[in-house]
Symmetry: C2
Subunit: 421 residues, 2 copies
């Protein structure tokens, strides 16, 4: 296919998406829920076809020598297909933000102003190997009345095509335009140059993947991007911490699922309690097979820890590695987090209410914790039901990005002939 034809086809998809978005915007919540049900039913019905397509993707990926981790992400099983369907059905039970009146007020001239939640419109999701993102992202977008404009990774091409076919069949079953899900079958870079400048048709881009992908999207896009960058999360053990609680929180935040963005990567220990706490921490984490790196003060107390380099303080390991620093007090802890953190999730462990309050006010992260694990930064854990991801942006959505964050608003103004004087 020539690049020109392909450019035009993308634009045509944009036009179709924009038209579909106008229809979705006035579709009642129960009709959107019926779509989600129908999409789930079609996914279940198409399970064999989806698994066969996935087997073809896996065979190609194996031939190309992709890593085991990549193959794991790519692989679907009957249980994973059932989970995708269940995810769509779960969305139907969640509250519908669209049409909700966030505020209503009366102006002295008699104008009544309502601030009403509306869908964002067309949302492009750019992701990598996991085919389940295709169903999850399409479902979240649809729940909030948005058209999903999906661009998955080349490894998952066959799986994604099969999943999208099922989703579109579900939309048709529910008598809703199947243009409400758009899927880009081209995976080379030229797609980005067109797709990410289609600001007439696409309202928001959400890249899901490594830092390199996100940065490339940010540099190319003329469409607003909500970024999901890394999490370099800290647990600060304050002088007034309960040491047992601190150990339990650190173990959980580091080890429960180390490859996630809300896992703890650094521990800061207050110098006042370091002598007793540091060896206990080392013992606890060694039992979990965590590799320890530390500053000089920590290594005096835990001599077999490797020396931490400057780079360690910035690193998102996503692995069973932890860097530990001993700090002279809470202000130094706050400074360290400001200098090296990623504004994602950071925790203090303390029984001192004032210290806790100082920490959560001064630490500029999407989620700040007193006496709890950073692993709770998650849509389901926050009670949002489902999430598109964890935004590291400060604009529009910050932290767990649920259905409500996939909406915008409009002002509806009721008058009786008012004019401006």
């Amino acid at each position: 296919m020539s690049q020109t034809a392909y450019h035009d086809e993308l634009l045509a998809m944009g036009v179709a998406a924009r038209t579909a978005a106008r229809r979705l915007a006035v579709l009642p919540g129960d009709a959107r829920n019926r779509c989600l049900e129908a999409m789930a039913a079609r996914l279940v019905a198409a399970a064999d076809a989806i698994l066969a397509a996935n087997a073809a993707d896996l065979a190609a990926a194996t031939r190309q020598g992709l890593s085991q981790a990549m193959l794991d992400r790519l692989a679907l099983t009957p249980a994973r297909v059932a989970e995708m369907a269940k995810g769509l059905r779960t969305l139907t039970g969640l509250p519908d933000p669209v049409g909700r009146k966030d505020a209503t007020w009366l102006r002295p001239n008699g104008l009544r102003i309502e601030k009403v939640r509306v869908p964002i419109g067309v949302i492009a999701i750019i992701y990598e190997a996991r085919p389940n993102v295709t169903a999850d992202a399409a479902g979240l977008c649809l729940k909030a009345g948005n058209v999903a404009f999906l661009r998955g990774g080349s490894e998952a091409m066959n799986s994604n095509r099969a999943i999208v076919e099922a989703l579109k069949a579900g939309l048709r079953d529910a008598a809703v335009t199947d243009e409400a899900v758009q899927w880009v079958p081209w995976t080379d870079r030229a797609v980005f140059d067109t797709l990410l400048t289609m600001d007439r048709y696409i309202d928001l881009v959400i890249p899901r993947g490594g830092e390199g992908l996100i940065r490339r999207v940010v540099e190319t896009s003329t469409i607003p991007v909500i970024k999901h960058y890394k999490g370099v999360c800290h647990v600060y053990v304050h002088a007034a911490a309960d040491p047992d609680m601190a150990l339990a929180i650190i173990e959980n935040a580091k080890c429960q699922r180390p490859a996630t963005c809300n896992a703890c990567e650094k521990v800061l220990i207050d110098a006042a309690i370091a002598e007793s706490f540091a060896p206990r921490l080392a013992e606890r984490l060694r039992a979990c097979h965590v590799e320890l790196r530390g500053d000089e003060a920590f290594r005096r107390l835990v001599p077999d820890a490797r020396p931490a380099t400057e780079e360690d303080w910035y690193a998102e390991y996503l692995d069973l590695i932890l860097a530990v620093r001993i700090v002279p007090g809470i202000e130094a802890a706050i400074e360290h987090i400001a200098a090296y953190g990623s504004n994602h999730s950071d925790a203090i462990v303390t029984d001192d209410r004032e210290a806790g309050q100082r920490f959560v006010e001064a630490v500029d992260s999407a989620a700040v914790y007193i006496n709890a694990s950073t692993r709770f930064t998650d849509g389901a854990q926050f009670g949002m039901g489902a999430e598109m991801g964890i935004s590291t942006d400060r604009i529009h959505a910050r932290g767990p990005m649920g259905i409500e964050e996939l909406t915008s608003y409009k002002y509806v103004v009721y008058g009786s002939g008012q004019v401006r004087t």
Copy 2:
């Protein structure tokens, strides 16, 4: 000055801004209000110096042959300086969104989650000739706890420098770091390449100016941009409209201040009432010196109207020109607005409640009106007190962008040792 030195100086300003933002984030609202008071006092005290600097700018602009409209925007008077000071003082009386708890909820595991408003951080404002934007934007940013990173037009260089000096003196009077206002004294394009990729230091860019400026910013920036594009606002006169009300609304929306983005640029007349309404509209607007352009159907009823071209339907005239189309009904009006509008402000005039509701639901604009002038799309008119502008974006802020829209949020999570299972 070499480009390298200049690049480094911009980065150093970014570092200073980021540091100042951390201090502002924990500064109580009354301290921020004292800053605004002190800045206002310094503006008043520096009025002569500011006017002298402005006279130098005006002389240079006159020598360069700038248009009268541009000179008008550039010119300061004692009254305009007093207005800038008054604007800052008005902000002190407005509610403080920072620290407000938007929501608090308890999770089944005992975690208490608070969603708390926080400043965005560092906001770059890129603007053109008007020097009063310097004080207005700095004040709005500071009220919401943000550092203003100001880059004004080259024509206003001397005026802006004098205003910034007064603002900084005010900050020092209030014992707050004067790095809370950053002013970029370089106005060539190379500034953009550095400034707009300083995403480590700047959280948001708001360009204020023509479409060309905004588009250049969007194409260069790796920082989120909130756009204030054009307003192609419609008034649709429904079959069930009160014709006198429709005439009053259209006259107001078109003529009260035609150069604003919320002025009416197009009128759509329902065919059912066109025969009686079109001649009355023409008569009313001719008295206000409005040039009429129309489609064929309108010109059959108002023969001296000029024929409207396809371009007319897209045009933002910002002048006493109006294009009129006769449409077969409400759905055609909605389609026309979707095809040619700018999603800014659109109104229906009707006594039919159902038609009004259909219009405000289907028309996808920041502000949709039933029986009122589009001119009300304005922060002060909406009761927000002050505004940074009217966003045409759908992300973060839509429509009038007040103090609250200059904030973000964080989640504060209170635990008692909870870990994730």
